[in-house]
């Protein structure tokens, strides 16, 4: 792949990216969240069409304009989420959509099982094709997924997107053995991962991407861990952040040894008035889970949460709101807004009880509540417009408005600027300054490192449900944050 370019409305996702694959190699594709790895793979697999650049397979120019084209050329992709039907057997899943059948669609079970066992044996897998997938462990399901990818004709390129994210170390070993067998047969494997140890275990060559660009391509012998981190992180800090630092006030929130099964373990930190506490981490590090626990949306299994020095137990979001905690959720459409309701009614939603007298809402009370907030946040809409019709940035301001209308002093922002245009982003940063100046504390979860570095007073870095490092905002560098996020000691 040479000079690949892909634009989405308003953003250049890929700009002149090269990727060179040799038969029989395991090629590691590395980069931060949003570096463009997935987009590049979607172009290779025909899910997206490229805007510019060229793809050549075995030296011949290849036009891949649909998933069908990619399949015909032997390109197979295994996504992070498995796509199996748990109720069906291994064999049925492998040949789903291409089930051998006799006349009138009656399944030819013998052929199905024979072909499945032959394929599994060929791949060195010891699975009974008759076992229902629901009885398999995750690694075995991954094997079935791989078998399915390889069932339809000869594969030349196999793409795997973070295949080990939910596997135990023994399962990882099984998977790696399989990958090596496939490579030995001449399949070129593209392996996307955040785990640097894996890079050195099975990688032959690496390609690093950053901000939609190609950074480097090297044989594995020529890189070291610190160098790799630097390659992934280093970038021009062109964006400007209007950070205003103010003296730290009293402690608002303290979290002591909080755990939640399978998501968080032994989390402790505190948040002070006037402070922006950034939370960094890769996908699945437990950041959103932490936000949900603090907002009362999920329960705490162990540990204590204290607000203003007093211990609190949240039975639901209402309790957290009553203690002055407001959550700006990660997915505003699914969790932040009722799209069909008006701006004013969304803003008033958490405050129904305070607005109403004996359950009856006085006329226009919601608009009266929302109007000053809409003006302050400069939402480009009237209070009586349906939220559905607003742009992403304006919708985000409405979610914020819900908490500005009440007595919230602890704000939890989960990816506050995702899907928001540049102008609105800067407005949100300014708003964060105004909130901290008023004595509020903000916990900001973000996958954008420049934003975290630019706006945080302190940064907590999470890795696999734990806090890996705490870094002062002034000392933080992308490399330090990223190495902690990757699980390396800092």
């Amino acid at each position: 792949m040479r000079g690949i370019r892909k634009e989405f409305p308003g953003v250049v996702a890929l700009d002149g990216v090269d990727l060179e694959l040799h038969a029989g190699e395991v090629h590691m594709l590395l980069g931060e969240n949003g570096a463009g790895k997935s987009t590049l793979m979607k172009i290779l697999s025909g899910a997206y069409r490229k805007d510019a650049g060229a793809i050549r397979i075995n030296g011949q120019p290849a036009e891949i304009s649909s998933p069908r084209d990619a399949l015909a050329r032997g390109i197979r992709v295994i996504y992070q989420e498995l796509n199996l039907v748990p109720q069906l057997s291994v064999a049925e899943n492998i040949f789903l959509g291409a089930t051998p059948a006799r006349w009138a669609g009656v399944i030819d079970w013998r052929t199905l099982h024979d072909r499945a066992s032959a394929l599994l044996r060929n791949l060195g897998m010891t699975l009974d094709p008759r076992t229902p997938v629901s009885r398999l462990g995750l690694a075995q399901r991954q094997m079935v997924e791989i078998a399915r990818a390889l069932s339809a004709g000869d594969a030349t390129i196999l793409v795997m997107d973070e295949p080990t994210s939910s596997l135990t170390s023994r399962e990882v070993a099984q998977l790696f053995a399989l990958i090596e067998r496939l490579a030995a047969r001449g399949v070129a494997i593209v392996y996307i991962t955040h785990r640097l140890d894996e890079v050195f275990r099975i990688g032959r060559r690496i390609t690093v991407m950053r901000d939609g660009r190609h950074v480097t391509m090297r044989p594995i012998e020529e890189v070291t861990v610190p160098e790799l981190v630097r390659l992934m992180a280093n970038r021009d800090l062109t964006e400007h952040f209007p950070k205003v630092r103010i003296p730290r006030g009293p402690e608002l929130l303290r979290v002591e040894r909080v755990s939640r099964l399978g998501a968080l373990s032994d989390i402790s930190f505190s948040l002070h008035a006037g402070e922006v506490l950034g939370i960094a981490g890769l996908l699945g590090a437990g950041r959103t889970e932490l936000a949900r626990v603090l907002a009362g949306a999920d329960a705490v299994d162990e540990g204590r949460v204290l607000v203003d020095g007093g211990e609190v137990r949240f039975r639901g979001p209402a309790d957290a709101i009553a203690r002055g905690i407001g959550l700006l959720p990660e997915d505003r459409k699914a969790q932040g807004l009722v799209a069909g309701l008006t701006v004013a009614r969304n803003i008033a939603l958490p405050h129904g009880r305070q607005l109403a007298r004996l359950g009856v809402l006085p006329r226009r009370c919601e608009v009266a509540l929302a109007k000053p907030i809409v003006d302050e946040l400069r939402v480009k809409a009237t209070p009586t417009q349906a939220v559905r019709l607003l742009s992403g940035g304006n919708q985000q301001k409405v979610v914020l408005g819900k908490w500005l209308a009440g007595d919230v002093r602890i704000f939890i922002f989960d990816e506050p600027t995702r899907g928001v245009d540049v102008g609105a982003k800067v407005e949100i940063y300014h708003l964060m300054n105004r909130l901290t100046a008023r004595g509020a504390g903000i916990i900001m979860i973000s996958s954008e490192l420049p934003e975290l570095l630019g706006m945080s007073d302190r940064i907590l870095v999470m890795h696999r449900g734990r806090i890996q490092a705490e870094i002062d905002g002034r000392d933080a560098t992308e490399e330090r944050v990223l190495s902690a996020a990757l699980g390396l000691a800092s």
Partner: protein, 328 residues
């Protein structure tokens, strides 16, 4: 998002409420007017005061049940038990009256029975986390069975005039059931549009998770919503029993379908969060006209069944098509 795109969004934001939303509600109203016009042309007798009041009276019971259904569907649920609750509440009422209880007590018992069953539905759905379809399907069978068991399948008939006046009485020239319908609609409309509870009904139907994260006690309110539906069924049962002068355990068969049809024809989205009671009233009236029309025209009285089914499908189809357009 680029500047150009944002402008388009704001632009459609101004136009859409004008072009699309009222179109859906007006469409239903226009449908009703057109239907009346056709019947008027075919049979002049249709557009007389007495006939129109007759239609309204015929409509009142389904219209009241449909109020509860509208609450439930707005919140994103469904209530299949309404017909059986009409029968059960009717039987409670009939038994109370026949055993010589004072009228207010008998009425209160019947309404309480409906409310309790509805709250039971709601509690199972919100705290038990069960799908509304299954819970209310079960209650539909349980309530019907209870009504039959309790009466051994026999109707309870012959009530005092002081009770029957609830159906036969008139305020001026308006029949009592029509007055009851008007009162119920006015009250329910106030609740939906002016109270926090009403707001939560829309919010829960529009996005339950966002509503929960806003601190609204979603389970509590969902339970109340099904309680309202049960209460509406019991109210309808009072009028039905007075009209028939008989409480029948087999009353209210298929009422759930009529109530759903009235709600859906009235433009309430089955996905929840969108719709209003005005639409439901018009929807119920359309069904009422479709039921009485064939009598006037002298065609088979089995025909409406087919027509109502067709109209419901067309209404939902219209909704789906409009939504699809809206999205792109």
């Amino acid at each position: 998002m680029t500047v150009g795109v944002r402008h388009r969004v704001i632009l459609t934001g101004r136009l859409t409420p004008l072009l699309l939303l009222p179109a859906r509600q007006f469409g239903t109203l226009i449908g009703l007017v057109a239907l009346c016009a056709v019947l008027w042309i075919l049979t002049p007798h249709f557009l007389t005061v007495s006939n129109l009041l007759n239609v309204a009276e015929q409509t009142s019971i389904n219209a009241i049940v449909a109020v509860g259904m509208t609450f439930v569907i707005l919140s994103g649920g469904i209530d299949l038990s309404v017909g059986s609750l009409v029968a059960l509440a009717g039987v409670v009422l009939g038994t109370g009256l026949q055993s010589g209880q004072p009228l207010p007590l008998a009425l209160a018992l019947a309404l309480a029975a409906g409310l309790a069953c509805g709250l039971g539905n709601g509690a199972l759905i919100s705290w038990g986390g069960l799908p509304p379809f299954i819970v209310t399907l079960g209650t539909m069978s349980i309530a019907r069975g209870a009504a039959l068991l309790f009466t051994e399948g026999r109707p309870i008939s012959g009530f005092d005039e002081s009770f029957r006046v609830l159906a036969t009485g008139r305020a001026g020239f308006v029949p009592a059931p029509v007055v009851a319908m008007a009162v119920v609609y006015a009250a329910a409309h106030f609740v939906l549009s002016r109270t926090t509870f009403g707001r939560y009904v829309y919010a829960i139907g529009g996005n339950e998770e966002a509503t929960r994260l806003s601190g609204v006690p979603v389970r509590f309110h969902k339970t109340i919503i099904y309680g309202v539906s049960g209460l509406m069924s019991a109210t309808a049962a009072v009028i039905l029993t007075a009209r028939l002068n008989s409480a029948q355990p087999i009353a209210g068969m298929m009422y759930e379908l009529d109530a759903i049809a009235a709600t859906v024809i009235g433009g309430t989205s089955l996905m929840g969060g969108d719709g209003n009671l005005g639409g439901t009233l018009v929807g119920a009236l359309i069904l009422g006209v479709l039921r009485t029309g064939p009598n006037l025209l002298g065609v088979s009285s089995f025909l409406p069944q087919i027509v109502i089914g067709g109209v419901s499908i067309v209404a939902v189809l219209l909704d789906t098509v409009l939504k699809r357009k809206n999205r792109t």
